[in-house]
């Protein structure tokens, strides 16, 4: 079994990438992702990792390099944040459509302008429909584990899709947390070498990313949609096997003190741990409040979510991105949509909070639950509210 250490979460991500023995790393420095790629470049420089490190001139090139290298059969890794993701987004969509299982760790950060180097989920939500498998990590251990789990899932012959591991910038990326690392032998047992059925090879020429006419485009998109949905059993199986190996079991929707809960907080990412503390406080006072933490964002776990949410009266959904002029935060609007056809469904109350790393404290969660209960009793409330804004 692995050793327990205190480690900066970014370095834990790098350590997992090293243990995964990647072949190609291409990334461009951007706060708050930089520590990951800095540490990886040290590994390569010091001979601790036998990989090609490509110091590209932009994120657009980073994603292009990774897509190309994965296409020739090399396990490829990149990481970015915010504007970097926006710049690479053109290629991000291609990588998924071409079914190339690149792994990206995304240290989530706001999008400009105004410039903010701090944390929220506006970057990843801008590419929500890119077709990658998308996880949200809650703590450093999650990040370390999900780098390894994601290589395994994405590269599965039945999946062959790229994966984004989201981790909150600063509040995860820059903190030192206690965690348990795995040794090389255990990793090798869990993660087989990357083998693709089809690679770019001059001896056996194929075309990847070709043009398709309107007569067949719809069929290619149907195939892509089905492929992402069909990755679910492999994800669940990998989590089960990883759990058996390490004792750490993960689920698409993590439930915390949901038994008999009439109100459920719903979070995604690192604020889930703060929400747990708030739930404890409310439970101590006898309030029937629980918590759902969405770990798997794509493919969205409809079955698990509906099962977990169906018994509640109110869902208090905390979004960390704004959909300007839209129906609310992206998470809340998707959850509303997922519940719409259910015969009995909880009311969804949506708060957008924690933009640019503004603290969301346990007291904020308690205040949100108070306000949601008030709205529920009145029977009306706004579609969403930007929580804590000064008026």
């Amino acid at each position: 079994m692995g050793k327990r250490v205190g480690l900066e979460v970014s370095f834990a991500a790098s350590e997992a990438v090293r243990l995964a023995n990647v072949d190609v790393i291409a990334a461009y420095p951007i706060t708050p992702q930089t520590h990951i790629v800095e540490r990886l470049s040290e590994f390569v420089n010091n001979g601790e990792l036998d990989a090609e490190f490509v110091p590209v001139e932009s994120e657009h090139s980073a994603m292009s390099v990774c897509t190309g290298s994965q296409a020739v059969g090399a396990r490829s890794f990149t990481c970015t944040s915010s504007q970097g993701l926006i710049l690479m987004s053109e290629i991000v969509y291609c990588t998924a459509a071409m079914r190339l299982p690149v792994l990206m760790v995304l240290a989530n950060r706001s999008i400009s302008s105004p410039i903010s180097i701090w944390n929220d989920h506006t970057d990843v939500m801008s590419i929500r429909d890119c077709g990658w498998i998308q996880y949200f990590a809650e703590n450093g251990q999650d990040v370390f584990d999900h780098v390894l789990i994601s290589f395994r899932v994405g590269e599965d012959r039945g999946v062959m899709l790229p994966v984004i591991v989201n981790m909150d910038g600063f509040s995860l990326s820059h903190v030192i947390e206690p965690m348990e690392l795995l040794d090389q032998e255990t990793v090798d047992k869990f993660l087989p070498p990357y083998r693709a059925d089809v690679v770019l090879d001059p001896a056996r020429p194929v075309t990847m990313g070709a043009i398709v006419l309107p007569t067949c485009f719809t069929e290619t998109k149907k195939a892509q949609d089905e492929a992402l949905k069909a990755s679910m059993p492999t994800i669940l199986e990998a989590w089960k096997e990883f759990g058996d190996l390490t004792g750490r079991y993960y689920h698409p929707i993590e439930e915390y003190r949901t038994e008999g809960a009439e109100v459920l907080l719903v979070t995604m990412g690192g604020i889930g741990e703060t929400a747990m503390w708030a739930v404890d406080q409310m439970r101590e006072k006898g309030r029937p409040v629980g918590l759902l933490k969405i770990r798997l964002w794509r493919p969205f776990p409809f079955k698990e979510f509906r099962k977990a949410a169906s018994k509640a009266k109110i869902l208090v959904v905390v979004d960390r991105a704004v959909s300007y002029g839209g129906p609310g935060g992206p998470v809340a609007s998707e959850l509303r949509s997922a519940l719409y056809n259910e015969p009995e469904r909880p009311q969804v109350v949506n708060f957008i909070a924690g933009l640019a790393s503004r603290d969301v404290t346990p007291f904020d969660f308690i205040a949100m639950v108070d306000r949601a209960e008030e709205a529920f009793q009145k029977g009306t409330g706004p579609e969403y509210e930007i929580y804590g804004v000064r008026e």
Binding site: A210, A223, A227
Partner: protein, 96 residues
């Protein structure tokens, strides 16, 4: 090869990889053409400038070395005509 409308969504390779090389030849982009280049052998000096500039590699040379268009792929853009030094290439309407 199957006709386009015969493909179901389950028929494609993963990631829409095309396993057979050179299939773009099967698609005749010349069908898009509304103007056609006409080559005047009196003026053509066989310099190959049209061949260099053609964005679709649709210029070839006949047995005598004169330039001609491969009408399967010539889209009729007229770049060859614009670049031809002795003015040997005229664009005429397909309808004419």
């Amino acid at each position: 090869m199957k006709k386009e409308l015969e493909y179901k969504w389950t028929d494609f390779e993963s990631g829409f990889v095309i396993m057979e090389p050179g299939t773009s030849r099967a698609y005749h982009t010349g069908d898009w053409r509304s103007l056609r280049p006409i080559f005047d052998h009196e003026r053509c000096i066989k310099c190959g400038v049209c061949w260099i500039f053609c964005p679709d590699c649709a210029i070839r040379f006949d047995k005598e070395g004169y330039a001609e268009a491969d009408l399967d792929y010539c889209k009729g853009c007229g770049i060859c005509s614009r670049e031809c030094l002795p003015g040997a290439i005229t664009m005429v309407g397909e309808e004419e």
